[in-house]
Subunit: 228 residues, 2 copies
């Protein structure tokens, strides 16, 4: 389903070249629940952005459902991003002038759901993450962990077939964090959703079935989670 071969990403800074990814290769099958761990700055978010079709690699091949992503048109990429992928960003990326519930409703623009249904579905998502009494707060009127949970609810609202979660519990106490992980587990086990999760917390990674380790822009280890 997702096949990355020798993915490289570099940034030009003046006369210096920053190698964010130095040849990452990875196969992720449909319905997998995988964690990505590794030191700060090792390339995890860069890898997630490429998988999520938000960024293009400098070189290498990325096949999504057997189609070479670099050959897809902007429209085809937009369709994958809006209909197939739910992305929980490390820095949330909420729209500051919209309420929490409006932020969560937004992706439904790309769904077949009639607009009279949007509020009802967004309300369910907000309840699932424990924010039913924060619907009309703007992001600046929410705590850090509440903003993170709005970002989570927004990523799940369109029933994506792939969820990319970049540090989804970084601002959550253990209890709220485990509640989120059980939601993700439910999507994986009940709906067969593929989940790719970046985390630095081993207890969170234990909810997944496979952990890949990234260091200096490459995959250095690939292990099964045994309690699962």
């Amino acid at each position: 389903m997702i096949v990355l071969k020798d993915i490289k990403k570099s940034y030009q800074m003046g006369d210096q070249s920053i190698e964010a990814l130095r040849g990452a290769s990875l196969v992720i099958k449909e319905g997998e629940f995988m964690s990505i761990m590794g030191p700060s700055g090792s390339g995890k978010s860069t890898l997630m952005n490429i998988i999520g079709c938000l960024d293009r690699p400098t070189s290498g091949s990325y096949k999504f459902d057997n189609k070479e992503v670099s050959q897809l048109s902007d429209d085809e990429l937009a369709t994958i991003r809006n209909e197939k992928i739910g992305f929980i960003f490390q820095s949330f990326n909420l729209l500051p002038r919209f309420t929490a519930i409006k932020n969560v409703e937004l992706p439904l623009i790309y769904s077949k759901l009639p607009s009279v249904e949007w509020h009802k579905r967004a309300l369910e998502a907000m309840k699932a993450v424990g924010l039913e009494n924060r619907l009309n707060h703007k992001p600046s009127e929410l705590s850090g962990g509440q903003q993170q949970r709005v970002a989570i609810a927004r990523a799940l609202i369109n029933n994506p077939s792939i969820i990319l979660a970049d540090e989804p519990t970084g601002n959550l106490d253990s209890k709220s964090g485990e509640q989120i992980m059980r939601i993700l587990q439910g999507f994986n086990e009940d709906k067969g959703v593929t989940i790719i999760l970046v985390t630095h917390e081993p207890n969170i990674a234990q909810f997944s079935k496979r952990i890949i380790h990234v260091k200096d822009g490459a995959v250095i280890k690939d292990e099964k989670v045994l309690n699962n």
Copy 2:
């Protein structure tokens, strides 16, 4: 040194009142190393912002070095913030148009250090957090954990007597997180700096000597850390 008595903070949202703090009382002595833990939305950041003189309580008393903070002028408050307190924000608050090193230098405007010394001291701070090869990156050209480390370096640069750290390791792998905690421990043990740390990770709280637990806007538990 810091005495909070029955601190309340509420926000008016239309006809509804949100009680972020419902009467928090706390005594923090000079040189203490204390953690604050509690569920998402329980009032930890609100408490930190009041202690850091960034926000005023709705009611209650806050004495800083025996002076009632609500009676201080804006100038006196600004002096406390700029000269005595180093604040590591949960959402970093870096200036997007300045490089990492420039962001770290900024608080030195309020110090007695001559400007020719600023770059040298900021460079030392960047080295201490492992970012000597990211000096000229803007925040958008840094990973989440690198931005967090710039925010940490910036909070320490003015040799504050109190460090307020709101989830300082939320985006860091365990190794980088422990490196940061050892820096904070050094400030506490070698320089007698008071450290107040919000964290949701028990391993991180273990670096401190006291943990207070917050729930629904009040302090519900106050415990000693025994391994220390």
